[in-house]
């Protein structure tokens, strides 16, 4: 993604990170429920400099038909980045990375959605990354949960997500792009706070067993903060003091 600066200080002597945040401070998060006319549910999230739009359709007929399941509905997720969303133009066709992230997000959402209520149907989640700046899969998962709720699809809980990680031998919350590139570890965490279940977890980077446990803990606590913002976004749309 470029912009790697060898002289950049990831964590200064006062515990301040390269973008001015404290070690346990997430970036600015703004979530808006709704916004798309045609989608059954939608959400828009700004997570630091990430800008991500999610549209949900369904439950609806499954095409091709052989993908349908007589016992349960199915969830289909497409995570896609726009060619202009990153430093150097990204080819528009889905990359192997995007296919893997689509699968990981799908499996993170499945425990939350009551698909068994809609046999033979599909719920489609379309995630479009308009601008990327590290941590897109967490921001996308967070917004997708809100969009599913906005679509009125029965859910057990919402999945909130944020990454924890390690820079300058310190466990931090919400890894940005620079920290991901130059840091020591990145651990995206997706968590259902009411059900206390981790549904997305990945890691790359070196952690001692103690750091590993701390990293999971910091991520889970971060998800609880994100969860409140998800609920607020839905509350603002459906119960807010709106003029229109």
């Amino acid at each position: 993604m470029g912009g790697r600066d060898a002289t950049m200080v990831l964590l200064d002597e006062n515990g301040i990170r390269c973008d001015g945040r404290k070690i346990d401070e997430p970036r600015r998060i703004m979530i808006k429920a709704g916004g798309l006319k045609n989608a059954d549910g939608s959400a828009y999230i700004e997570f630091g400099d990430n800008k991500i739009l999610v549209g949900v359709f369904g439950p609806r007929d499954v095409h091709p038909k052989h993908m349908s399941n007589t016992d349960t509905g199915i969830l289909r997720v497409r995570y896609h980045m726009e060619p202009f969303s990153v430093g150097e133009r990204k080819r528009p066709a889905p990359s192997r990375r995007e296919i893997e992230i689509s699968k990981v997000i799908k499996e993170a959402l499945e425990p939350a959605v009551m698909l068994e209520k809609f046999p033979r149907t599909a719920v489609d989640v379309f995630i479009e990354v308009l601008q990327a700046d590290g941590g897109t899969r967490c921001a996308a998962l967070t917004a997708a949960s809100v969009a599913l709720a906005d679509a009125g699809i029965p859910m057990r809980d919402m999945v909130a997500a944020i990454a924890s990680g390690k820079v300058a031998d310190t466990i931090i919350l919400d890894v940005n792009n620079e920290e991901d590139q130059a840091g020591q570890a990145d651990m995206p965490v997706g968590y259902m706070p009411s059900l206390k279940k981790i549904t997305l977890l990945q890691l790359d980077g070196v952690l001692t067993p103690e750091e590993y446990k701390k990293c999971v803990d910091v991520g889970v606590k971060g998800c609880e903060v994100v969860y409140e913002l998800q609920k607020k976004a839905l509350h603002d749309k459906y119960f807010g003091d709106r003029k229109d």
Partner: protein, 272 residues
């Protein structure tokens, strides 16, 4: 494979019933991996190779090492890449054609585990800075499937890399040229070991076999290095884990991984 057959339902019920008594379908304990057989140098034309049996799962890895142009922004580092593929003869449901999401995930998780451990020291694989570097390609193919390809592929790639011999190149007329009789082992810094655990009901089992794999609710693959650090992790499947289970899986991956690492080490000694 979206429909669940009656047989699958019965199989899961039986697996769960056994787990409640602390047993598994094939008689293993919950934290016991299947027998691992490693056959080094199965493909002598490759620079390194290994055939690995993990129970009835069988995979083959060949390592090819050749000069390559470096990536523009990292001219001072060689290249390492690991791929994984399911051959159509490995299972009746595998089709030819471009890889589907599960296979892409498999390949990326196997690659990530080895890459993030920094097993191959790529800074030691430079022929001439910014001009020519050494590329190490570990390609794994699944030959026979009985669950847990993640670990089988990882062990095969690791064993093949541990026993690979790389030629030495020097620049002649601006082109890399092989120095005869100067083959040497790859620069290896650590031995990564991947341990995959499945969650069936409320039970965590190490190295799920084919029947367990079809019956599990979710899975987690954790890779550790020789120092006992955790270097990569991937959760998969349609259910979640509690924080406590995630911690338990971390401990298990270190404990189980240490034994498997000894076996990978001894396969290296056998090859010498």
């Amino acid at each position: 494979m979206t429909s669940v057959s009656v047989i699958d339902e019965l199989k899961r019920a039986q697996i769960l019933e056994l787990l409640e008594q602390g047993k598994r379908v094939d008689g293993r304990t919950l934290d016991e991996p299947r027998k691992i057989c490693i056959e080094i140098n199965a493909i002598p034309k490759a620079n390194g190779s290994a055939r690995v049996y993990l129970g009835d799962t069988q995979v083959l890895c060949g390592v090819k090492i050749q000069p390559d142009k470096p990536f523009p922004d990292v001219g001072d580092k060689g290249m390492f890449m690991c791929t994984a593929e399911l051959l159509p003869l490995s299972h009746p449901t595998v089709e030819t054609g471009p890889p589907q999401a599960p296979v892409i995930e498999l390949a990326r998780v196997v690659d990530r585990g080895i890459r993030e451990s920094h097993m191959v020291d790529v800074s030691d694989l430079v022929i001439e800075k910014d001009k020519s570097v050494v590329g190490v390609f570990a390609d794994v193919v699944a030959i026979d499937y009985d669950g847990n390809l993640f670990d089988a592929c990882s062990y095969a790639a690791t064993a093949a890399l541990l026993t690979s011999k790389t030629p030495t190149w020097e620049m002649v007329d601006d082109q890399p040229s092989v120095v005869e009789g100067a083959d040497k082992p790859l620069p290896i810094t650590t031995i990564p070991v991947s341990v995959t655990m499945g969650k069936i009901g409320n039970y965590i089992v190490v190295d799920p076999n084919g029947d367990e794999w079809d019956s599990m609710d979710s899975r987690i693959t954790i890779t550790t290095d020789s120092d006992g650090n955790i270097v990569a992790l991937q959760k998969g499947g349609s259910d979640g884990f509690t924080q406590e289970e995630i911690n338990q899986c971390g401990d298990l991956s270190i404990k189980v991984g240490a034994k498997i690492r000894e076996q990978l080490k001894s396969s290296k000694q056998e090859s010498q």
